[in-house]
Amino acid sequence: MGSLSERITIQMSNVLSHLSDEKIIEIEHHSKVARRKKRWHDFLEMVSNHTLLIFLSTIFIMPLYLVIVISLMNKGQAETRSIWPSPFMWHNYVEVFTAVPFLKWTLNTLFVSLMGTIGTVVSSVPPAYVLSRLQWKGRNTTFVIILGTMMLPGQVTMIPVYIIFSKLHWIPSFLPLIVPSFFSSAFSIFLLRQFFTSIPDEISDAARIDGCSEFKLMMRIVVPLAKPAIAAIALFAFLGSWNDFFGPLLYIVENENLWTLGIGLNAFQGLHHVQTNMMMTASALFMAPVIVIFFFSQKVFIEGVTLTGVKG
């Protein structure tokens, strides 16, 4: 917009040089009024934009706000539709650890998520590397198949996979939740490949001419350059299994010692001595790590989501 208005001003001044002084003063007066009008108009627009944004923000924040305030209420108050705790029951956050095995659930979830993340990263980087940095017969076909599996509804493969795990006597255990992640994730390969293709080939070619092996090239040159993308897939893998409900529902629900936060939280109401306000306390604690992670890695995150979209 800036350059355009400048150009217009220059053209205007060319026109103005042919006009009489009085005419110029008159026009300048008009333009001053116009400018003032424009500034007023810009100001109004800013106010209306921010009003709308603040209104939408309030709606988005409201449920999070309510979780926190209800989690600080006592049982009686939590059932009165009030929106401010009195008295503040900070003790809820201690009690939740004794009322239910919350710490155990957290550690279980953390273990599954971390193992899943390691598995995904270790098993997705090499396929993404050869799919993007090397030319070979069948490469594009392979990539199309990978994308195809991303579109495949999980329900179609779910039952035979469940049968495999039950024949291995892995149900209930963490193994069905962790082991598959060591066999590559199509989504992670896709995201990494998008990033790897954007690294200039000249770097690899130079290293190859110097006699660098492909493995070394991958580990020493491409992987360090692709740190942001690897961080993004690690983050997605971690959050994916932290938030997963269906997998644990199939594979660990039978053994209470293995419960994850999602399963535990869903079973909350049926558990002894548990009140509704505590449910919100537990929910708040379940959300907290994810939100903290988000604030520390917002950039990685948003770039990652964008990379999977239709850009480029």
Partner: protein, 323 residues
């Protein structure tokens, strides 16, 4: 599959097909290295995709309860599905209903929130963070929180609605007529990740197009309708396809919400829920496999229909996606 081709060509510009290509041809292709690198994926796809697909296709023609070996019954499962199983039709109706409403609504809302974010000159990153945040909340927690705060007796939402003058606000998850709307609102609350893709798309629209439009005296609505919207059709198309695929797998939110309230009328009983209950509660693995295959066929047909129509409404600035 055409769909996969479409996604494949979303990749950024292909490098190395210019001047350097002949030089690289001289280097031997390290097939052993390639095989080793691909092996996790190769074994993964055999164990977790190819074999299970064949097995579940076979099982869909059998009666199978996990303990005895599968017994061949021909097309009986499909006959039962279409003519005897009223839960199948209920689940299908519920799924189609919620998809028909929530997919367009989600697209519109993602577009709207992203568009609002492009407006202010300063401070939009704070709003972006706030809009994005709910999509990070674990599904189980989000679903529990929603059923609680929308509870007519002790949830604060209805109090707020009464305060702004809405008499007799709906009972949301407690009312079969409204529970799906509760789920739709829950989905809209977590719009963040979709919104980010729309935001990237909006920021990609060349400024010069807007300048040209405003020079020709286009109103805000006209420049949205004739500049923004056509430029956004690839993003809309993408989220339409993924939305259709996703909606037939809609499970966790409905499962958690119907566990919290007593969903006696099965208003929150969806297709994926039906498969889950058939397979892992009733242990009718054969029938559940048949249900899963019908789901796959429905998804494929829907996707193909959308792909067929795309020529008419999807605008690709750099020519067609199909080379």
């Amino acid at each position: 599959m055409q769909l996969t081709k479409a996604v494949a060509s979303f990749s950024p510009r292909k490098r190395g097909e210019g001047a350097l290509a002949p030089a690289r041809k001289k280097l031997k292709v390290p097939y052993l290295f390639i095989f080793l690198c691909m092996s996790p994926w190769i074994f993964g796809i055999i164990i977790f995709t190819a074999y299970p697909m064949v097995a579940s296709f076979y099982q869909s023609f059998t009666k199978f309860n996990l303990i005895d070996s599968p017994e061949w019954v021909g097309l009986e499962n499909f006959h039962r599905m279409f003519f005897e199983d009223s839960d199948f039709w209920l689940a299908l109706r519920n799924t189609v209903w919620i998809s028909a409403i929530s997919i367009p609504l989600r697209i519109a809302f993602a577009m709207f929130t992203a568009w609002v974010l492009t407006k202010p000159k300063r401070g939009s990153s704070i709003y972006r963070t706030i809009f994005f945040l709910p999509s990070m909340v674990p599904t189980v927690a989000a679903s529990m929180v929603f059923t609680y705060i929308f509870n007519p007796a002790y949830g604060p939402i209805n109090r707020g609605l009464e305060a702004i003058g809405i008499k007799d606000p709906p009972f949301w998850f407690m009312d079969p007529k409204w529970s799906k709307w509760g789920l739709i609102l829950l989905g809209l609350w977590g719009i963040g990740d979709t919104m980010i893709i729309y935001l990237a798309g909006l920021l990609d629209v060349p400024k010069s197009l807007y300048e040209a439009a405003s020079l020709e005296g286009a109103t805000q609505w006209q420049s949205f309708r004739y500049v923004t919207l056509p430029m956004m059709t690839p993003v809309i198309f993408f989220s339409f396809v993924t939305g259709v695929i996703g909606s037939f797998q809609y499970f966790t939110q409905a499962y958690v919400a119907s566990g919290q309230v007593n969903d006696y009328s099965h208003a929150m009983y969806f297709y994926a829920t039906h498969i889950y209950f058939t397979a892992f509660r009733a242990y009718e693995m054969g029938y559940a496999s048949a249900l899963a295959w019908v789901l796959l066929v429905i998804t494929l047909v829907c996707t193909l229909i959308i792909l067929k129509t795309q020529k008419r409404w999807v605008h690709y600035p750099n020519g067609s996606l199909f080379k």
